[in-house]
Symmetry: C2
Subunit: 241 residues, 2 copies
């Protein structure tokens, strides 16, 4: 059974304000919830309509009806499992190899795709400026396809972080040096900018190198989407490592 | 003034069935409508709240109020201009350089992003299997950011097309040969598959080469999103040309 206070908590957790206040977030789906559990995220509460949670030993699962799950879920078609989790605590960021830093990325689908890309390319740490969209937003979580369990995501003051950073900082710009022919070290920080405005001036001034993806089509073409650009930069970094 | 029959037509054009029947589609926004006009798309009807249509000589623009535009528009915040256009007629497909072919891509955002990528990388022709999402869908048009004006998109029977194709066919697969080290000719067909199922068996059998993007993270990671994978493949093709 779902008690009223739990229903209210889960509804409230759709808002960033409450997620920050409570230090909790909601993940839906047996596979994604199972992956969080396996990667060490601590569950606050788990609900299931009978769906098995793969690969994990859970004692505290509340069995609920589909009708109850529909009340809790933010999905049109909830799929059997909903978990409330503690957010990952802040950790010290070590630059071991390459990391990615985002300067004000706003679209949940873009952030989710970038997390999935970090996972694919073995990028362990993703730094988000404080004004980047919240990675515990349900649309971001859906787009990550479970990758959030395998990438360490930290929100912080990006200016302070880059000032203190020891690895070289590579900012991505429309008119940056051609990434195909740039020299790339075996560690560094790759900074991706906001969808509309790119990298802000203050962050741009902290970049040691400015790199870009050459354009082969007509000059009237818009810039690349930030998630597809991240895909190309990470591929360039990894193909040479 | 907007007459009733026009209002009905524009509402109906939100459905693929009517777009096919009438051979028309709707584009919104001054910039995007201007780009279509400049690239030779023929307008059936243009509406404006007074917004200027950049870089084009239009005689037949119907001036309407914002209230009327809101009735016509599928956007929450319509932005001044709405055009009804004739779809691009079917054309013969020449393989001059590389082209991209899609086998059942379903997500409008993915198709829009892929069109934008083709534009960026100078891919002139995009072939879509008949079961690929309609490129004149409003969500696709929005995601292309105007690139639809510069890429020749043709829907056809992909099996027949590939059978008749003279250029080598490169299919993209999770377990394909590493694209970083594959030999790539200076022309060919790059085939991208459906979001959930990848390339269908029948199309897979028509591929001369199977290529893939190497994974650097943990093996439990999901495949890459089809749009980000297309970004990486096109970058690989172009960086070596």
């Amino acid at each position: 059974m779902v008690v009223k206070s739990e229903l209210k908590l889960i509804k409230n957790l759709q808002q960033k304000k409450y997620r920050n206040e409570k230090g909790l977030f909601v993940m839906e789906g047996a596979k994604a919830v199972g992956e969080l559990l396996e990667s060490g995220f601590k569950a606050y509460k788990l609900f299931s309509t009978g769906e098995e949670l793969s690969g994990s030993k859970i004692s505290q699962v509340e069995n609920i009806s589909m009708k109850e799950l529909k009340q809790l879920s933010s999905l049109k078609n909830p799929n059997g499992v909903l978990g409330v989790f503690y957010k990952r605590p802040s950790a010290r960021v070590d630059i071991d190899g390459w990391i990615v830093a985002l300067d004000g990325v706003q679209d949940p689908g873009n952030l989710g795709t970038i997390i999935r890309l970090c996972d694919w390319f073995g990028i362990k740490t993703l730094i988000c400026s404080n004004d980047t969209v919240d990675c515990y937003n349900s649309k971001v979580l859906q787009a990550t396809m479970g990758s959030i369990a395998r990438v360490n995501i930290q929100y912080l003051d990006l200016t302070e972080f880059l000032k203190a950073s020891k690895g070289p900082v590579f900012g991505t710009f429309m008119d940056g040096e051609n990434i195909h022919t740039s020299k790339l070290p075996n560690k560094g920080v790759l900074v991706m900018g906001n969808e509309g405005n790119g990298i802000s001036e203050i962050i741009g001034n902290l970049c040691d190198y400015k790199v870009g993806i050459p354009q082969f089509g007509e000059k009237s073409t818009e810039s690349l989407n930030v998630a597809t650009a991240t895909a190309i930069f990470l591929n360039e970094i990894k193909r040479r490592s």
